[in-house]
């Protein structure tokens, strides 16, 4: 009797149309097949509102006991349609939107976008502007990696290193406040340069930060790196073979943690990176611990780059002088007829790049951040494709999580360090 009821229930169950994401979870490569719901298979829905998923990442995890059999990431909870929006914005109007892509390092996105548009209109900016951009981009890398390492350690259970990392990060936000007037949504770069020059005071404040940073970073590292719990929870977890990493199109710290020395700052230098002396840290292990160490050593390298930039930064103009493409200064707009006309034309009709396509990539803290821009000769881009590193890196989450324990999932997400604003666009 009870058997027939159960059978009926099962038949009824199979009638319910399964959503596509559930179908994606059920594939033949699941080694165990379950027929009885009282078996120990379990489908766990993790996120989108989960503190360890670093935003609104949703994971559907199929479990056998405590072992993850398969995992299907689901994106789109922060999708704002920036690529569609870009088609209706002029090139200048899109700059504030780039802040909201990777909101943990907004300055790096500003720089990447400005470089992309400048390549399209074939424009070179003055040396001082380039140095300013390197300084803010490296500050952004420190800002992002500090949160990545702090959050990874916090996911494992250590709160203090996270708080100390946030304390250092707060200083960078204060520096941004001095440099550009905003802490978070900076929108500092302009096409052809930056919004305003850095003052000597802000450079001095940056120098103070850089000088203190090495000791403060060492303080955090002392707490973490010889901790038995930390090492045991990271070592060998989330392993992905080198070939697979390349196959999945990973970039940034994830790729360097499997022994591939790929860094666009070295391989295809932009701005003034070819004049700076720094090295690209790599680790061969390709596990969570290696990714942690790559990020930490990049922090050290970034401080070296900052030190060199602060010494080398030349005097001179920060923005190129090409009044038909670049927004003129406000005081000139109010006093000069010529600039008033250009200002009117740029604001109303935009900079009109020649017909054509262009791709520019920079090494952001997460990997290769690129803008593929297609111009039809008008003021708005015809198509703007954002190559966001987090999106590509998240694809590696499923193979990394295969056959790991459920408690390791948070560590693996922390080591991938996705930012959903960027992955969802």
């Amino acid at each position: 009797m009870s058997n027939t009821i159960y059978q009926e229930l099962q038949d009824k169950d199979s009638d319910i149309k399964k959503t596509k994401i559930l179908q994606a979870l059920e594939t033949e490569d699941l080694s165990v097949q379950f027929t009885d719901s009282l078996d120990n298979e379990m489908v766990l829905n993790m996120g989108p509102q989960h503190p360890a998923t670093h935003g609104v990442l949703r994971l559907l995890v199929s479990l056998d006991g405590e072992t993850v059999m398969k995992c299907v990431p689901e994106l789109g909870y922060l999708h704002r349609g920036y690529e569609k929006l870009a088609e209706s914005c002029t090139y200048h109007e899109f700059i504030p939107h780039t802040d909201r892509l990777d909101y943990l390092s907004p300055m790096a996105n500003n720089v990447a976008y400005a470089l992309a548009v400048e390549k399209l209109i074939d424009l070179e900016i003055p040396e001082r502007g380039k140095y300013i951009r390197v300084i803010i981009a490296e500050l952004a890398r420190i800002q992002s990696h500090l949160l990545a390492m702090g959050a990874l350690v916090m996911d494992i259970g250590a709160i203090t290193p996270f708080l100390w990392a946030i304390r250092e990060r707060e200083k960078i936000l204060d520096l941004y406040d001095v440099i550009c007037g905003a802490r978070f949504t900076t929108s500092y770069t302009r096409i052809g340069g930056v919004a305003q020059d850095v003052t000597d005071e802000s450079l001095a404040a940056t120098k103070v930060f850089v000088d203190e940073f090495s000791a403060n970073l060492q303080e955090i590292r002392n707490l973490v790196e010889r901790n038995k719990i930390f090492i045991e929870r990271c070592e060998g977890i989330g392993y992905l073979a080198k070939e697979e990493c390349i196959e999945l199109g990973l970039t940034g710290p994830l790729l360097r943690a499997c022994g591939v020395s790929r860094d666009i700052r070295k391989d295809a230098p932009y701005l003034v990176y070819d004049q700076l002396d720094f090295r690209v840290p790599t680790y061969p292990d390709s596990d969570c611990l290696a990714r942690y160490y790559v990020r930490v050593e990049e922090l050290v390298e970034s401080t070296n780059i900052l030190k060199q930039c602060l010494e080398k930064i030349p005097k001179g103009p920060h923005t190129a002088l090409q009044s038909k493409k670049i927004l003129p200064k406000k005081e000139r707009v109010y006093t000069k007829m010529e600039e008033l006309i250009h200002d009117f034309m740029i604001i109303n009709f935009g900079v009109n790049p020649p017909k054509g396509e262009s791709y520019t990539a920079v090494e952001s803290s997460k990997g290769e951040l690129g803008f593929y821009t297609i111009s039809d000769g008008s003021g708005n881009p015809w198509r703007m494709k954002i190559r966001s590193p987090s999106f590509a890196n998240l694809q590696a989450l499923a193979p990394m999580m295969k056959n790991c324990m459920i408690s390791d999932t948070v560590v693996i997400i922390g080591s991938v360090d996705p930012v959903m604003g960027e992955a969802d666009k």
Partner: protein
Amino acid sequence: MSKFVQTKLMKPERLELLKSKLQNFTINYTEVNGTPALYITKENIIDVCKILKSDNDLKFDSLLDAISVDWFEKKDRFEMIYNLTSIDNNERIFLKIKLDSKAPAMQSLTQVWGSANWYEREAFDMMGIDFINHPDLRRMYMPEEFEYYPLRKDFPLMGIPDSIPLPNK
């Protein structure tokens, strides 16, 4: 050519080598701001990609992005652009494939590079391009029930009212 060399250009002799390896196929060579771009016909795409990936001299082992474009023209309205990188040789090329206006479809490149999986799902979601032999062709960002393709030029910027049903209370 741009004044600042941002992406290292492929040397002319290397491009000649690439051309000689692919001489059996009809390919139209152009460039994207200094980077070589190859127009490939839909029929040849898998064969060409297999050579590009497995040839020991070329070694384009990393597929970094797939870009879908709506040109909004009567003929060959859609276009897919693939961003290929060789890590060993530090070179980059773009593959371009023109697609039909009415039913844009092409072979999925997941058969060659695993990373094409999500990129093509995104192109399917945003532009409605059908990828044949794709293992898991679902929408990437939009909800499953959504019927439109938002990045097409005929989709209004402000969206279509009631296109996403509100959840039942």
